[in-house]
Subunit: 465 residues, 4 copies
């Protein structure tokens, strides 16, 4: 690693989050001796890259820093000799996410970015790309650290480890960051006064908390969180409360995304209402993004605007910067990351990726042992991890039978003919980003499978096969 002139590369540099990332770098200028920042994107994202890239340059300049900010579509040039590579790209951009939501919704199923059929297809589209990036990195920057926050972050990290055979990767999630930033004050503490232990999977983890006298305060936080007020919930998740009786049995704090599984009925109802209003989350985000990029165009804007917070996904980019600084400065910070289990949760295979409280330093992520889960949470966890393995293998191999197995296992997809129909329509809808499934898609097109939801169908038509 270059000790005095870091080259930082971000794949998906045209993202609306880039200002948070730049802000994170600026905030850590004493910890990260940056020389070059490379923002990489694809042709389809060029306009956004130019807008947000110009803003990034303004932010750096205003901060009085001499960092070079490069905007490029040439990934390989960017990766050459990189020290840190962060990934925040979205294959197919927001239109793909709209399809991930609306196609399942059309058939009365939950459509969501990282869960259910949508999450599976986000993995299917992303895995081939990330494996390509890793291949480039093996050649062009074999000592670099890869900080992934492309969703579904846990599965993408699994693919990087298991199919890319790349060890220097840390997967990030903003959900624990949000919990740790909002919960302490609920019990009149600061974060420093608490010990957090998270474990589980990305967007499917639980945590327990102790105070500085050694007393467990998990249930105190539960009372505050799910009592009168709510807190720490990602903005993109509908706020239905958990069942008190269940929480009291669990004695751990579930994450926001557990709502999809513990209150499936209500989350579905909420999602379908948004669908009927032609305002699924991706559709809302598309609007927010348009506004954001309008803001970003302002040549006087040289700081992260407040409106970004509404976007959802806050803290991801800052967490990425913190991970880089922790590694570079060997800070041994506590962060919650996706990394190899190594036994920390003995209920899961030791050689696969999970999400856990870890110490982040120069030697990478060292997970803190969490011990066994109780049967209820263990059952969920083992189902979900195995489903992740099935999805990632299907994504890496293009095996249709495995894709169907994943759909069948997924607790948000009622198994049967309709589920298979959703799978098939989504293969057709995302066909431009699923090279691994080409044969099956050709067969489906020949059989006349078309997308039934009109919005999704239109977005599909825009993309020539």
């Amino acid at each position: 690693m270059s000790r005095n002139a870091l080259k930082l590369v971000t794949i998906g540099g045209g993202s609306s989050y880039t200002p948070e990332l730049i802000e994170g770098y600026i905030k850590r200028q004493a910890q990260l001796p940056i020389k070059e920042i490379w923002l990489v994107d694809v042709e389809a994202g060029l306009e956004k890259l130019n807008i947000v890239g110009a803003m990034a340059k303004r932010m750096v300049k205003t901060a009085g820093l001499d960092w070079e900010v490069h905007l490029t579509l040439d990934r390989r040039t960017a990766l050459k000799d990189a020290d840190f590579v962060s990934t925040q790209f979205r294959v197919g951009l927001l239109p793909a996410r709209i399809k991930d939501e609306r196609i399942p919704n059309y058939y009365g199923m939950i459509g969501q970015e990282t869960n259910g059929a949508g999450g599976i297809f986000k993995a299917f589209r992303t895995v081939p790309v990330i494996l390509d990036i890793v291949k480039d990195m093996q050649e062009l920057c074999p000592d670099a650290w890869l900080i992934n926050f492309t969703n579904p972050s846990g599965m993408i990290t699994e693919a990087i480890k298991t199919y890319g055979h790349w060890d220097k990767v840390i997967g990030l999630c903003n959900v624990p960051v949000m919990a740790m930033s909002s919960e302490p004050e609920l019990i009149h503490k600061t974060l420093d006064e608490l010990t957090y232990k998270f474990a589980g999977l990305d967007h499917f983890h639980w945590h327990r908390v102790w105070d500085n006298t050694g007393q467990e305060v998990t249930m105190q936080i539960v009372d505050k969180l799910f009592g009168d007020e709510d807190a720490g919930l990602p903005t993109n998740i509908f706020d239905v409360p958990f069942f008190k009786d269940q929480l009291e049995n669990m004695r751990m704090i579930p994450c926001g995304y557990h709502r999809y599984y513990y209150r499936q009925e209500e989350m579905l109802a909420h999602g379908l209402a948004e669908y009927r209003d032609n305002a699924t989350r991706a559709q809302q985000v598309t609007k927010i993004e348009t506004e954001l990029f309008e803001l970003y165009k302002d040549p006087n804007l040289d700081y992260k605007p407040k409106q970004l917070a509404e976007r959802g996904g806050a803290h991801y980019s800052d967490a990425a910067c913190e991970a880089m600084a922790s590694i570079y400065q060997d800070k041994k910070t506590h962060m919650v990351v996706s990394t190899l289990n190594q036994g920390a949760v003995p209920d899961l295979p030791s050689d696969h990726v999970f999400e856990v409280s870890a110490q982040i330093g120069a030697a990478g992520a060292v997970p803190m042992a969490f011990g066994h889960f109780q049967p209820a949470e263990r059952g969920w966890l083992q189902l979900m991890k195995n489903m992740e393995l099935v999805i990632v293998e299907a994504a890496a191999t293009g095996n249709y039978g495995l894709a169907l197995q994943a759909f069948t296992m997924n607790p948000l997809i009622p198994a049967g003919a309709t589920a298979k129909r959703v799978l098939d329509e989504m293969l057709v809808a995302h066909r431009n980003y699923l090279p691994q499934f080409t044969d099956k898609i050709t067969e489906l097109l020949a059989a006349g499978v078309t997308v039934q939801d009109k919005v999704a169908a239109e977005l599909t038509e825009l993309v020539p096969v």
Copy 2:
């Protein structure tokens, strides 16, 4: 164990299956030196006990055997010095099963005897009774073998081992028996020419098959089973085909009950159609049973009538007889039973009950190691086993939070407010058989929870609280 004068006790002796059991004994008269057969039932089952008991006596007499057949409501007298105790009772009789089906159906969920909400409640009602029986056995016949075929057989066996601390138990299931009796001819083989390896859970197992040249013939059987014709399916399961693509990925033969999970949509639709016709499976069975008992009353009937086959559950009683004979004669027979894992499926905890190909002899059941499952089946299996543990603990302790956790985990119950409503209504509906949940039920009754399905509500009213 008495070597020359066996005392065999059946709890739930008034069952319509008793003739199959008696036939099984008669068939094995050379292997089982029976002196006494005790058929035990409860007050509510007395009439059926008398009818079927009289028939049992006729069958024994016609066979020219001098076995004593005792009919009794006094379980303790029956258990005294027993050699084999078999359990085939149904707590709450068929009306309870009707409620298990119709209450979930009312809310658009699968209602089924051993799966979904119905299966959970069958366990809730049965566990307290079986633990009482085991307590009696510890005192009255501490060396007896317990052959359980009361459903849900796997969970009941788990309760016997884990909460009853009784080791000499074998749990039975007729599904593997049916597979092994119907599959061989599909590929023009006899059972003797094949090697079967089953593993999984009761009503949730898979199997693989090899022929006598060592070639695996699993997929040949799959082709026959799920190609043109179907075979080996319990009569109580609607025949929707599995997805070919999924089977080809799985490369194992699922059991009939997997339909509820792999084709949930279709199974639900079928169940709801029966519900609307006021003819759920339990309602059909009630009718069949009435006819059966009419037949049994015929003083000339001294053999198992053909009509019993329609009842579903065929082979269970015969399997129980075979298990007794295998133990008594140390036959080292291959049977598929619920027993302690001991590592045979390393994906499941080694000290809990699962269902597996085992050698049955005087030393009990010795499971054959099956090895690891692939991720898709492993995920299902781990979810389901953990759910079983949650259900059994809830049943043994009356913990409502755990009951809610079980409902939330169950893949056939969409989690949320309606699921909780179903749980609450079922607690109320089955209140006479759920002493462990008394406090919660009192609270629910006070809150005015009542059963909404009219048929179930009427059956509930018949039972004074």
Copy 3:
């Protein structure tokens, strides 16, 4: 597999055991439709091959069978289209075994064929040869079964599975056969009346026994075995009794070879006495073998002579024949074999070889689950299995550091400079059979390492480098 004209190949066909093998075939003529028997050996074993081969032909002829018996040094011709390949060769013949015993003995350590330094070197010499054979089989008879009884049988089977990637292999051991043939009568039972459960490693297993009433009779057998009389001990093991207090805690029957570990002091003293008398076991066997081959030369001898029993290793060849017949006839026989764990002993890795009671049929070996060991036996077992893995990896790779690790772990070798000296002398002594260690041996020779024991040194000199 040929169904009517089996081709059976034995590598190491010139062994003195071949008559037992031929007798085993003749005994099973109704089960094994043999057409050709191929006895393969190396140049150095040609004379013995011719003697024992001629005798084999006489035995077949006397039995009135038309089987072809081929004697050859051309392994590849023999392997072509073979149905069963059995391996009973000894790399370096008896002189190598003399060195395996005398070099450790010279330094006051146990010298033994399958344990201690000798066992490690037998593995080092054998692994490269067996991997060559497997390579030939992959090309010439990819559907054949490999029945290995070359020692150390467990480690050789491990090498075949892990480094040869050959699945159709069964490793055999005669020790369980001897136990099962001698123990039943001690408690006035027949083998059929007992259930045996063995588990552990080759030459390091324990067993438990139940009678046909389901009662465990393990400790009854222990009392008989280690009370007044001894039984079931291989002829090559000195008969020092186990400690009664230890056995009562163990509550399992150890195997004869456990004496080396549980009574190390006495076994060492006995071995050193034989060493001083110039009569180590290999030296005794050399004499017995010479006599045996004199007998075999007798053109009238057409049956297995009694004297072979003194040789040690009885039952190995018969077990090999039984394994072949069980596979070919799909007999589902209980045999104790080295095969993949698959969870049957959850204390050991599921994907490595161990020794266990298994059902042997057309589908191969199906291990019976044994469950967890108690800590004392578990500790021994885990040490020994890990040591086997280290030895096999060292044997497959020629890694000297690993060889030294194996010597350090071995409970029969006191770690330190002398142990390293023994390792080095043995590398030099066996240099003609250790191609994988060539570089290290060259270095040792350059450093002037020579064999100190005179007998071993002379045998080494006979072999030109």
Copy 4:
């Protein structure tokens, strides 16, 4: 826990280490708001308690602190409402250690405080006492933390968790402290610039090290440590080098005590030479202690004298103070402690004690996941942990068969009649401290078993039975 007036209790307060402990407290006066220090000892240690206690008072006074220092033989009064209890007692004092060394030495075996027969007997004597202490704590100070540094520290911690059912315990060892204090400078680093990962068992652990650029520097330290110079070795361990070839294969840094296992021959020779010189380590320490206590008597001595460093065991007491401060101040310090595995080393049972890098804070010890070991180290580790379990169970139950199993498993004891003789003599020699073995000892005395080593025999005679 009292937040402003801590009560600290030390069992074995008369130890020569007490000044280090007091120094440690004084050093951390800002972190630990101490009110009372209670030094507890037994009658036989009263003289030492008075000497060292007086010195402790002088040290506190000189530091200008108003802490109360209480000296007492009344353990229960001391424990009442304690906040931290540290244990540093030696049952039987140094004469017992002399016997632990000399009795095995007499028979040509390694005699050592925490390894071999001596270590087993130290556990046998200590476990009953620590379980008594825990029983008192459950009654008198149920919220206190127990910081154990009585050896064998890992096994004592195991006994506290498994048989005492006490969770708030941390076991300490000074060996990792010494490694971390001496190694960094070898590679021109400070401790802050390195990441240490330790795992294994107390006195049987390995570690790996990374620098602040993320590069592993383990082998650089190995080169320095075992190249020209040695470092970080406890003063009580003879300095024989490890084999370079072995270390290069291991790629981890073993601990000093591994010498007993990796260079058993040389360690034995060294120990026997000391034995012949009548100067085993305990005999040397007795002399050092006498001198130390002479020093301590000096009414002007009010600081820890340099000579204590020669005593061996340096850093233990300081580590205890650091553990207390880390818990009290929730410092989340990296320390290497004995605690529950919880999966951190998946090769060992998750519910037992091992030694590991952990984060120490108010919530106790959180182990850092280490992942799987390679087979060589895994084999050693699994043997040793299982042996620990056998020893602790024997110590807790007085089961002689288990004691013999432990002796048989121990790699430093050649199994056989002499080993059993050593076991029996040591039972007799330590009879006053082994209430759990009373029956067996009575039997041995009746059979005339006496201690053969004269020095040990004399020490035994001093103690009336």
